[in-house]
Amino acid sequence: MSIDTTTQAAATTARPRHGRRRRKELSEGAKAERRLGWLLCAPAVIVMIAVTAYPIGYAVYLSLERYDLRFPDAAKFVGFDNYAAVLSSPYWWHALWITLIITVISVVVELVLSMLLAILMHRTLFGRGTVRTTILIPYGIVTVVAAFSWQYAWTPDTGYLSAMFGNSAPLTHTFQAISIIILADVWKATPFMALLLMAGLALVPEDLQKAAKMDGATAWQRFVRVTLPLMKPAILVALLFRTLDAFRIFDNIFILTAGNNNTGSVSILGYDNLFTALNLGIGSAISILIFICVAIIAFLFIKGFGAAAPGSEAKR
């Protein structure tokens, strides 16, 4: 969902130049323009701050309190006790570990498959429209619906896949269940990533490919030496957003296993702490820790890989 947001920011490069020229020419108009700009952005900014920044601040405050919904009057400030409780709990580390495993495997598999799919859509000789339309179905379908489809497919006595594997019940075993969660995630997210990579492929000039071919480069060499480097920005952006998306995984797990048999992600843990344990303080501490993890991942991508830092116009 969010991947497309990135590079557009970079596309603003041409804008400021235009604006500067304008300001010099007519400073009267520039003032009005500035005011209009703020006016037009204000509603969006206010909504975004009100719905994200304020609640996150509030979550920080809640996370420092002992706050059990069953005993709301007993709420009191406890400092970092909630964090200590979460960080010393094996449940948190297990959930984090599961989440990281799911994230890394899904994203790697998705990257390979979506690259193949992108090449297919880019190069196939016929039926291009059909393929593009069909693969939009996994993108558009409600995650919960897709998760139910996978769940029933693997339910003994009901599912065709379970029947194929000797009426097994893989969703009741940790390892198999995690594989199915990854399968469901890959099925849903690969088409979207493939569309982004296809857009990147379209940027690789056909001439370069031909020149490399003339020089005797094999198909593989052309892919690794010509196509991949030119696609790097598109790949990094797709990777960044897919990684963050996978890290937030919730819907698939909730439907497939509900986090049973040690398959819960950090998001599932946070949800359970709020709605099953009714513990707002601990739930908020988990929320903040997840937020910090996401921030770290984003930071590593942008700094570590020198990813086309999304939103940073200056870099381009």
Binding site: S2, A44, P55, A59, V145, T158, D251, G270, Y271, S284
Partner: protein
């Protein structure tokens, strides 16, 4: 390029595999929804006996029909608000020069990456305090907030494609910047806004986490959340058929959207990546 028969077969089978993998899970849930309750556990891919019973069943209870109304209403309202607010901001980003533009873009990006679960706990408490919990606004508010970044980025990419000379011409003719926006640019921007609306709608339609956390009754519970909590008619019957029928009903509009607007959706999703 010379095409050999071998190449044709190769690409053809690759196409087939891709299409097959994409639609099998969808066909499976359709098939389950048409299975007779007595044969739902025969684990065949296609029903032996087709029946509409599951569909009749879900439309008999208000649990599903009410959820469907909630889903449609909440998604449409959220989409409308998000697209209007986002197009104002995107116009400013694409067109005007003002300090703080980078900040807006950075903020949108941050929100696009935001883990929804981090907001669920505080929003749950805030909405309970405000009396919004389990109402339509309870979901519309976060949907608008998360739809906005998507809208701002997609729309600002579309807005950059518009022939801006027309705006200048309108201003020459005495239109204020605001008039130039509503009279000249908005109609030209309509296709981009429509595409953005589809993407935001799909996002709202798909949401599950907010829907189960910020609602508790049929009052505002959307279909994904409702089917997540469907129960059978007695505790011994699994609601498989009902869940699948409900799932098919909410999948159909999306598949129709996708079939009709395939080009637009692809353009919307990739507009950024291409021009980056």
């Amino acid at each position: 390029m010379a095409t050999t028969a071998r190449q044709k077969v190769g690409w053809g089978s690759a196409n087939t595999v891709a299409v097959f993998l994409a639609i099998v899970p969808v066909l499976w849930i359709v098939s389950l929804s048409f299975k007779d309750p007595a044969t739902v556990t025969d684990s065949t891919f296609w029903p032996k006996k087709w029946t509409w019973e599951n569909y009749r069943g879900i439309f008999k209870t208000s649990e599903f029909t009410r959820a469907l109304i909630n889903s449609i209403g909440i998604a449409l309202i959220s989409t409308a608000i998000a697209v209007v607010l986002a197009s104002m901001a995107a116009y400013a980003v694409a067109r005007l020069s003002f300090p703080g533009k980078g900040l807006l873009i950075g903020m949108s990006l941050l929100i696009a990456m935001f883990p929804a679960i981090s907001l669920v706990t505080p929003l749950f408490n805030i909405e309970r305090a405000l009396g919004l919990f389990d109402t339509w606004p309870a979901l519309i508010i976060p949907y608008v907030a998360f739809g906005l970044p998507l809208g701002v980025y997609t729309l600002s990419a579309f807005f950059r494609e518009i022939p801006w000379e027309l705006e200048k011409a309108a201003k020459m003719d005495g239109a204020t910047p605001f008039q130039a926006f509503t009279r000249v640019i908005a109609p030209l921007a309509a296709p981009g806004m429509f595409t953005t609306a589809i993407l935001v709608f799909i996002f709202c339609w798909n949401d599950f986490l907010f829907a189960i956390s910020l609602t508790s009754t049929t009052n505002a519970r959307t279909v994904p959340a409702a089917i997540g909590f469907f129960t059978g008619s007695s505790q011994f019957t699994a609601p498989t058929g009902s869940i699948c029928a409900a799932a098919v009903v909410i999948t159909i509009p999306i598949i129709l959207f996708v079939l009709f607007f395939q080009r637009r959706i692809v353009a919307g999703l990739t507009s950024g990546a291409v021009k980056g």
